[in-house]
Symmetry: C2
Subunit: 269 residues, 2 copies
């Protein structure tokens, strides 16, 4: 079903035509947005939009009668091979541009707006939060401006042995952020139980919790490659951490067949 959506998307909006990676990513984003329950005509706020991979799917789904406000704390020159600025410019020039407002260098908690939204989306961005308290503050403000929180993140609780490498990579990268002076991205490996608890603490209720298949994405292998590199940089960490990292690094490959973790989706109201 998502595959069909991807083909229709490429044909209609003339985006990502020759980009197999983006097409694979799109397929997953359609599955997430469907799980979120986003409908035509909705006004959506997306926090942590990055290059706009989810944003374009949200914009396609809400249609001409809907609207997507997409914010990110990063500056326009962040990102590779395209910067956020370049990626957003390309999307703005497509038919979808009219339905999307991108705001970069925008901190959600500082953002000055009284607008109400039908849904606020946080998709695969929670692990970048340095502090659970900050994520909780986001949830509390989201509650005050929206009927619905749509949350997605990698699901560490893998059930296929081929996802073991992605799990170990995420563990290594979280410990990397803790133990070395570095520019690590992954900060906190928030899981279902912790996000569920924060949603409660913010005064909302979990309406839906589902797992979305993501084994086919490239992200697992990307993280594994990165983790293999940084696993050599723990020389200054405590010995016990070094042996733990060495063991995890030895587990990054499962007979050469690495798949990505799945995603978990939580919708709260």
């Amino acid at each position: 079903m998502s595959q069909t959506s991807v083909q229709k998307f490429i044909k209609q909006f003339k985006l990502f035509e020759n980009d197999q990676i983006q097409q694979t990513q799109l397929q997953h984003r359609y599955a997430l947005v469907e799980a979120f329950g986003i409908k035509e005509g909705m006004k959506v706020l997306e926090i942590g939009c990055g290059q706009g991979d989810t944003t374009v799917v949200l914009a396609d789904t809400v249609g001409e009668s809907g609207h997507v406000t997409a914010i990110d704390i990063a500056p326009p020159d962040y990102g590779a091979p395209f910067t956020l600025g370049e990626a957003h410019e390309r999307i703005n020039q497509s038919e979808l541009g009219a339905r999307i407002d991108f705001h970069l260098e925008t901190d959600f908690l500082e953002m000055n707006s009284d607008k109400q939204y039908d849904a606020v989306v946080l998709s695969h961005c929670s692990w970048y939060f340095h502090d659970p308290a900050q994520l909780l503050a986001y949830f509390k403000r989201i509650r005050s401006i929206s009927k619905m929180l749509c949350f997605a993140e990698w699901d560490m609780q893998f059930e296929k042995i081929t996802q073991r490498g992605h799990f170990c990579a995420a563990s290594i990268l979280a410990l990397y952020s803790q133990f070395t002076a570095n520019d690590g991205n992954i900060q906190n490996l928030f899981g279902k139980s912790e996000i569920g608890k924060m949603i409660e603490d913010a005064g909302m209720k979990v309406d839906l919790e589902v797992r979305v298949d993501a084994h086919f994405l490239q992200d697992g292998q990307w993280e594994i490659d990165y983790a293999r590199e940084v696993s050599k940089e723990f020389a200054a960490a405590a010995v016990r951490i070094q042996t733990l990292i060495q063991n995890y690094a030895d587990m990054l490959d499962v007979e050469g067949k690495n798949e990505s973790l799945d995603s978990f989706v939580i919708v709260a109201k």
Copy 2:
């Protein structure tokens, strides 16, 4: 095959007759000792003998013409439900007693002896070492007194999803020793690659490396129960460690069917 050995053992030596747990453990110890390549007539030194679960199998295997010296750094009153002293006393009273010398409160590096051995066994005791340098010092001394090092430890590189809980428990317990004031047992999760490197550094060569099935042991569930308990005691650790531990704690059960990790065996000469 090991099952038959267990039945023969119980009949012949009148040990563990009504103890299902010990019988299951024995089965695994027979598989390890077979993988080690221990033969009739050998003089064996076992380091970290604990209650003597492996010791009795070694003693059965070397037979009347062989001998086992079994040492442990722990005192006689350590251990439950039987203390080491009680367990050794029981073994000494059996037919196997004549083939075994137990020495408790004995530090291998301080041990004053010029005796040479056909094999030195370190079975499932390496994770208790506080420091890799200490284990390396053991390996170096072993090289000077024996033709053969027989090493076994849990294999973190699990390949069955039902072993995920034991893996996560071991990870939690290693981090527990690092981050909380505690009486944690697991100190360093030494894996195959690290042990292999230490063996080289000690001037020996890996002669054999095999995996020994241990999924049927009770140890995985014991560690899971213990890890679940201590996972609440990380409140003083850094936030990133807390989120990591919470995630691992949520992964301790796989549909209620938890199996133990396998063992890896390395024989070096």
